[in-house]
């Protein structure tokens, strides 16, 4: 795109900002005319902005407190060095997850956004992409910094309330450092919007995730935190009475490193990457996201799958395994499908194993948050394992090409996810029976909920019936809960299992299995009716 833009004489270019002001004035005028015609208020947008600020002021502090409480519930080791290592691992992991979100945003047309008109003008060389994108890049940088500071201050307050309360400078330092580091996921997301740096963006994400996971693994296996720890957060976050284990030069070095990383990321986002951005792809992704958003508002949950664009399938040389194809065609199909998405399969197995380990750790006298987080990781991982079932559910007439009942087809598609889930659960439970039952029950619930969610891709029309409450119409809240029903059920079951504790035994197990059976049966009934 930059090559195209280079063919245009600078003198022939249109000043972008003047054009933008002109478009803005046209829009304002049209808004006023429309409002006058419909008898509406032309200042609707002002009220909208007022409402957003009001909501942020009301719910921002609540969210901050919730984050602080969640951070306070984190199971951190007692020793100063182990605690520091855990914090660094957690920070690396959080950055890695944020980078993953950045990569996903790049497929959905973000974080830098363009309109189709701007994209067309930029591609024809009328505007320099950097002129279109620079102000948006600056806005994103400020937003990412604010978000990073928001989360970091809440985490600091939760993890080390004494330190944060006694020394606001500690809180401020944490906020500045987090604001700098928050630029990394943003830079990764924008880099993934360029064809040239997409691989590097994925590499940075993988590196951060690997460092975080390896460090957590080293901590979990007592392999010695010092071997992996590269920095120490203890001076900033403090321990339960622990003292600083790093010298001042190291602290200064860490701060400098954070500042350098942040500055480099900001430079990339504001100055370098806008010129390399594939604006056409970004505009297409954004259009897909808008369409999917409209679909979601209309109750079509399948629309969400279109946000990330068409999937890339590898492994094209692999074929359907002949022997298995004769005996269990749907199992053969699902295995081939997974072979064609090796990266997603590997990531889902890692996430599933981590989730199962967390569920086990939570069940063995750990906090409820750990069990719930583990169940969430398992549920997320199971989406990839159940790809065949979801593809089956998305068909206009599920199973129209195959013999047998809908139940038989669902059972055929359930074999691969069940096998993978059992492998993961077995690996997590190896070495001790403690917590194994909880892992098994969560896995069974996750599989049943996956089938239940796959069985319905459109929200029931009844959910859109206005629901009058003192706070206004809550119908969209109910619709939102319907979209999240799978997550909500899995998290609720995990939390209840944790609350019941290991002593509850057979009654809890039977209840959970009965719920799973009911969900699976509901899924089969829906498939049969489809």
């Amino acid at each position: 795109m930059s090559a195209l833009a280079g063919h245009v004489d600078d003198g022939a270019r249109v000043p972008y900002r003047r054009w933008r002001r002109w478009v803005g004035s046209l829009r304002r005028r049209a808004l006023v005319v429309r409002a006058a015609e419909s008898g509406g208020d032309p200042h609707d947008r002002v009220y909208l902005g007022y409402g957003v600020v009001l909501l942020a002021l009301v719910y921002g502090p609540i969210l901050w407190s919730a984050l602080a409480q969640a951070a306070a519930a984190l199971p951190l080791p007692a020793g100063a060095e182990e605690r520091s290592a855990a914090l660094v691992a957690g920070a690396a992991l959080a950055l890695g997850v944020a980078c993953l979100a950045g990569l996903a945003a790049a497929r959905a047309g973000g974080p830098l956004w363009t309109s189709p008109e701007e994209s067309a003008f930029a591609l024809s060389g009328q505007f320099r992409p950097r002129d279109v994108l620079r102000r948006r890049a600056v806005l994103l940088v400020v937003g990412a910094g604010a978000l990073g500071a928001f989360v970091a201050t809440a985490a600091t307050q939760g993890i080390a309330p004494e330190q944060a309360g006694d020394a606001p400078a500690v809180l401020l330092a944490g906020a500045v450092g987090a604001a700098a580091l928050a630029q990394v996921p943003l830079a990764v997301g924008v880099a993934a919007q360029t064809s040239r740096r997409r691989g590097a963006a994925r590499g940075v994400t993988a590196l951060l995730l690997a460092v975080g996971l390896l460090e957590l693994l080293a901590l979990a296996t007592d392999a010695g935190a010092q071997a992996v720890v590269l920095a120490c957060a203890e001076p900033v976050l403090g321990g339960p009475g622990g003292s600083c284990t790093l010298s001042v030069p190291v602290m200064v070095g860490a701060a400098l490193l954070a500042a350098l990383v942040g500055a480099a990321s900001v430079g990339l986002v504001v100055r370098v990457l806008p010129d390399e951005l594939d604006v056409d792809r970004a505009a297409a992704g954004q259009a897909r996201t808008v369409t999917a958003g409209r679909g979601l508002v209309g109750g079509e949950s399948g629309a969400l799958a279109d946000v990330l664009g068409p999937r890339a399938y590898g492994g094209r040389r692999a074929g359907l395994p002949r022997r298995l194809l004769r005996r269990a065609p749907l199992v053969a199909r699902d295995l081939l499908g997974l072979r064609r998405r090796p990266a997603a399969l590997a990531a889902s197995l890692a996430a599933g194993l981590a989730g199962a380990l967390l569920v086990r750790a939570g069940a063995e006298d750990g906090p409820a948050l750990v069990t719930v987080a583990g169940a969430a990781a398992l549920y997320g991982a199971a989406r990839t394992w159940a790809d065949g079932l979801h593809a089956f559910a998305a068909q206009p007439q599920p199973g129209a090409l195959l013999p047998g009942s809908a139940g038989r087809a669902v059972a055929g598609h359930a074999v691969v996810p069940a096998a993978l889930a059992l492998v993961v659960a077995g690996a997590a439970a190896a070495g001790g029976a403690g917590g194994a039952l909880a892992v098994l029950l969560v896995v069974v619930t996750v599989l049943a909920v996956r089938a239940w969610v796959a069985g319905a891709t459109a929200a029931p029309p009844g959910l859109f019936t206005p629901m009058a409450t003192p706070n206004g119409d809550m119908a969209m809240l109910v619709v939102g809960a319907w979209y999240l029903r799978g997550w909500l059920v899995v998290l609720a079951v995990a939390w209840l299992l944790h609350r019941a504790g290991p002593g509850a035994g057979p009654a809890v197990a039977m209840s959970t299995l009965a719920l799973a059976a009911a969900l699976a049966a509901a899924a089969v009934r829906r498939f049969a009716r489809a």
Binding site: L336, R340, Q397, L401
Partner: protein, 217 residues
């Protein structure tokens, strides 16, 4: 020996959405090996009639029976006997064209009469795209893939909604050959179409069901 019972019996079936009648009173009987071309202008109710026969919708009045059962029940109990191409193919996005046919042949095992995958692809002139995924096909290739895959699965009754959509003249001729092949194999076909050649072919092997143009709304 008495003639075989009808596969499809539609008696004075109508369908109304709100105040709009989308299908006027329609009667139709289809026996094994017979074809029926459902024709009429846009909005006449061709797809609606196919949906009623497929059991995906209920008639407002009249009766629709398939394989001796009410159409809604036949959809649940006799789904193995009815192949439907209505609103897109039930395909998997991660299987190639050839792998879909192979999956169908294996899933039906001893009940699949053939031909083999290669022969079916050759008949549909789809060899060139045999290793492509459904999402990688052009719209015409996708339509031909949907048609050949629907006809590839065993069924006594086949319902096709405008199989000629998005096909050029050459491929329309191929589609007509495939439909004729299905009739030769003893299947009953109910086909909604705008293609005059396909309409004529089907009329030769059975009947034409001409639906009236929609009235003013």
């Amino acid at each position: 020996m008495p003639p075989p019972g009808p596969l499809v019996e539609v008696r004075a079936a109508t369908r109304t959405h709100g105040t709009v009648q989308v299908l006027g009173p329609t009667t139709l009987t289809l026996r094994p090996g017979e074809a029926a071309a459902v024709v009429g202008p846009n909005g006449a109710g061709k797809s609606t009639l196919l949906r009623l026969v497929a059991g995906k919708d209920e008639p407002t009045s009249g009766d629709v029976r398939v394989l001796g059962l009410p159409a809604g029940q036949a959809r649940l109990r006799r789904r193995e006997d009815v192949a439907v191409l209505l609103g897109g193919l039930s395909a998997y996005p991660d299987l190639t064209v050839a792998e879909h046919l192979r999956l169908v042949a294996s899933a039906w095992a001893g009940r699949h009469p053939g031909p083999g995958v290669d022969a079916a692809l050759a008949a549909a002139e789809l060899e060139r795209v045999r290793d492509q995924l459904p999402g990688e096909l052009s719209s015409g290739e996708g339509q031909m893939f949907a048609l050949v895959t629907t006809l590839y699965r065993p069924a006594r009754l086949v319902l096709l909604d405008e199989p000629e959509q998005r096909l050029d003249a050459r491929w329309r001729a191929v589609a007509r050959r495939l439909v004729a092949g299905a009739l030769d194999a003893g299947r009953a076909l109910l086909v909604a179409t705008h293609d005059p050649d396909l309409r004529a072919d089907l009329a030769l092997r059975g009947q034409e069901v001409e639906l009236a143009a929609p009235g003013p709304r």
